[in-house]
């Protein structure tokens, strides 16, 4: 029985068009000249131009998009890896030993519901003493806090998916805890680790408020750097340049997401379902 896909293709196309409408519009706007933006709001470009991208990709002593991209890459990298490192042992302990199930686990998970910006002042003071202000490491640390709840949830689900008997077999094979964790549990969690990393990286990359508060010049991440372009030459918002910078800023996580979509679709969500 061959499923009829024609109608499904149509539904797919409509869904993609509707859900991505802002993205498509922005992409189109990025190729319009400033004059055309105010004259022609349609999705059709009369005279396509790379002017906006040229503006965005040209560095000046103030605007250096390559710096922002690099800062975001490093900070988001730290923000994605660190939560995995600290959450993994605890995730195992939660599942297998019930450690922290009563307090620690809900505590961390609930950080997700909290606007962390209320910690802005104390963190700022602490960072300024520790010399972490305006550093990629400092920003990465906070992004790690932002990612911690999801990382812990995903890893707990991943560990719970591992058949207990496999770990018992390793015990019987003489593996003590470190070998068990690193040679058996960790490799078995690999799909979840990858998804956790991808999601963490994307979330960290997309974060704005802490990026704004904790950096000034050296460690400015892409999202904050993008906002620098919104008003570059004295006038109001230059929609074309703004659109181009948004496109550039969204590309790295998008590329990551598109390349690794199988990881995202498969494992993560299977884990999340177990809840």
């Amino acid at each position: 029985m061959k499923p009829r896909l024609t109608l499904r293709w149509i539904v797919f196309a409509v869904a993609v068009f509707v859900m991505n409408f802002p993205v498509i519009s922005t992409l189109v706007t990025a190729f319009k000249s400033p004059g055309e933006v105010s004259r022609n709001p349609s999705l059709w470009i009369e005279t396509p131009t790379f002017e906006n991208f040229a503006t965005v990709l040209t560095t000046s002593d103030r605007l250096n998009i390559y710096n922002y991209l690099w800062n975001s890459t490093v900070a988001a990298g730290i923000g994605a890896v660190l939560p995995i490192v600290v959450a993994f042992p605890l995730a195992w302990a939660i599942v297998r030993r019930g450690v922290g199930r009563a307090i620690l686990f809900p505590l961390v998970v609930n950080l997700r519901a909290l606007p962390l910006i209320i910690f802005a002042i104390p963190i700022y003071m602490m960072f300024s003493v520790a010399g972490l202000l305006d550093t990629r490491l400092g920003l990465g640390l906070i992004l790690a806090v932002v990612n911690l709840p999801l990382a812990l949830m995903l890893l707990v689900n991943a560990v719970a998916e591992i058949p207990h008997e496999i770990e018992e077999a390793a015990h019987m094979d003489g593996a003590r805890l470190p070998r068990l964790l690193f040679r058996i549990v960790l490799p078995l969690c690999r799909p979840a680790l990858i998804t956790t990393f991808i999601f963490g990286f994307i979330t960290a990359w997309n974060e704005f408020l802490f990026g704004l508060m904790l950096t000034t010049s050296k460690a400015v991440p892409m999202t904050v750097g993008a906002s620098f372009f919104f008003a570059t030459s004295g006038g109001g918002v230059q929609w074309g340049v703004a659109a181009a910078v948004m496109v550039v800023a969204a590309l790295p996580p998008l590329a990551l997401g598109l390349v690794m979509y199988r990881r995202i679709t498969g494992s993560l969500v299977a884990g999340a379902v177990k809840g």
Binding site: T59, Y66, I121, Y124, S128, L133, L212, S217, G235, G236
Partner: protein
């Protein structure tokens, strides 16, 4: 990959050269993105090139994001940041930032270059907290082509009069914008709105940026002020619940209700309002003087004049930007030296030539008449129509604007009535200004 690599390498090399040539030690956090940035860069270059400025006192500029700039500055200052020695201050935020700033003594020329009115925009509790660099006020922008056509067409005049009669209760004649009262502004806005006048060449007569945002209140304030409105009287009683505010708020509300401003304009800020005007679908608007270039570029037939008059005359809200000294600054001497130089005539003229909008005394401005005629206009309006609300430089001034923005936009959006809006605003202001 390779191109990008080369680019990175090139950039790194450039950065090294730049860092090598200027061993900057005085850091300045400026207002990013506008003409203010370009002007500040220009004068900094001049200053750093001076022979008598020591290497360790050269100035380095720092510009962060416009989005959330004041929120970040608040955190920076409150936490005692040493990331900058000098930072942006504005008339309405001096009070809030004063605890983290140090008063400064300006150069001897400051009085003659700027004049007392302008220097006052940088004072709090009688102390000078900074050098005024830019003056922001509001212009009435209008489409000369449309107004001229209206004034030349008798049938249109009759229609105009009929619309005024119907909605404002009296027959009115179209006038030149320089002679407008706020009633004329409203009548004109109605005439040029297709919801009221289906033959209107524009979709909307005006656009009022009414996002729940403090800056939008500043744009609005000239209106109630020209009816005699003020925040509080000399005894400290909150007087926002007055006829003046009621009249201005109701007139604006009429424009929202009759569709004379875009229905979405309760969520418009600067960018959206300008985009609306730039599209050619708006006949006239009150907007910051900084928008002149952008609006004229989009609609060539754009005239500018002072905001409309009320019974008390014409008024424009003025708002000074300047640079002040961070209390936690690490190089205070160097920073003060730069501030003092900034307040000299040399610096002010260079700043203005580079595109900045300093509020200059008439004599100083005259020297620039050829280069910057608009500065004469700004200076003129500032000294003749400029005002600051009573309490407008107090510690909690920004919060007062916040509170008003919330209540007034709520009234315009129809989520609450006028009495409630004014009652809530009065309550909030009493709490803030006590």
């Amino acid at each position: 990959m390779k191109i990008r690599h080369n680019l990175r390498a090139g950039v790194a090399a450039l950065a090294l050269v730049a860092a090598g040539s200027v061993q900057a030690e005085v850091t300045v956090l400026g207002w990013p993105g506008g003409p203010e940035e370009a002007a500040l860069r220009a004068v900094t270059e001049i200053y750093n090139a001076k022979a008598d400025v020591a290497e360790e006192n050269k100035v380095e500029l720092l510009f962060t994001s416009r989005d959330g700039f004041f929120d970040k500055l608040q955190v920076d200052l409150a936490a005692g940041s040493t990331a900058f020695d000098l930072n942006l201050i504005a008339t309405y935020s001096i009070g809030r930032y004063a605890p983290y700033m140090e008063p400064v003594t300006l150069s001897d020329q400051a009085g003659t270059v700027f004049g007392d009115t302008v220097l006052k925009t940088m004072q709090f509790d009688g102390k000078q907290y900074g050098v005024p660099t830019d003056l922001s006020l509001h212009f009435l922008y209008y489409r000369t082509d449309l107004i001229d056509a209206l004034l030349a067409d008798d049938a249109a005049k009759a229609k105009y009069s009929e619309i005024a009669q119907q909605h404002l209760g009296k027959a009115m004649e179209p006038k030149a914008p320089a002679d407008w009262t706020w009633e004329d502004f409203v009548a004109n806005a109605l005439y040029f709105s297709q919801s009221v006048n289906p033959d209107s060449p524009t979709r909307y007569g005006t656009v009022i940026q009414a996002k729940n945002l403090l800056f939008n209140m500043m744009v609005f304030h000239s209106w109630p002020r020209s009816y005699g409105g003020n925040w509080m009287d000399d005894a400290g009683n909150i007087t926002v619940d007055s006829e003046a505010f009621r009249t201005a708020l109701s007139q604006a509300k009429l424009l929202f209700d009759l569709g004379a401003t875009p229905p979405d304009s309760t969520s418009y800020e600067y960018a959206e309002a300008n985009a609306a005007y730039a599209s050619g679908q708006v006949a006239a608007m009150v907007q910051w003087n900084a928008a002149a270039g952008e609006l004229t570029a989009a609609q060539a037939a754009t005239g500018t004049t002072a905001p409309p008059a009320g019974p008390e005359g014409k008024f424009t809200h003025i708002h000074g930007l300047g640079l002040g000294l961070n209390k936690a600054a690490e190089n205070k001497d160097g920073a003060i030296a730069f501030l003092q130089w900034l307040s000299t005539e040399e610096a002010a003229l260079a700043y203005a030539k580079a595109g900045g909008a300093p509020g200059l005394a008439a004599d100083t401005a005259a020297k620039l008449a050829a280069d910057r005629p608009d500065l004469v206009q700004v200076g003129d309006y500032a000294s003749n129509f400029g005002f600051v609300m009573n309490g407008g430089t107090s510690e909690k001034a920004l919060s007062v604007y916040e509170a008003q923005a919330k209540e007034f936009t709520g009234f315009w959006a129809g989520t609450q009535d006028l009495d409630t809006a004014l009652k809530n605003a009065t309550a909030a202001m009493s709490e803030l200004l006590k």
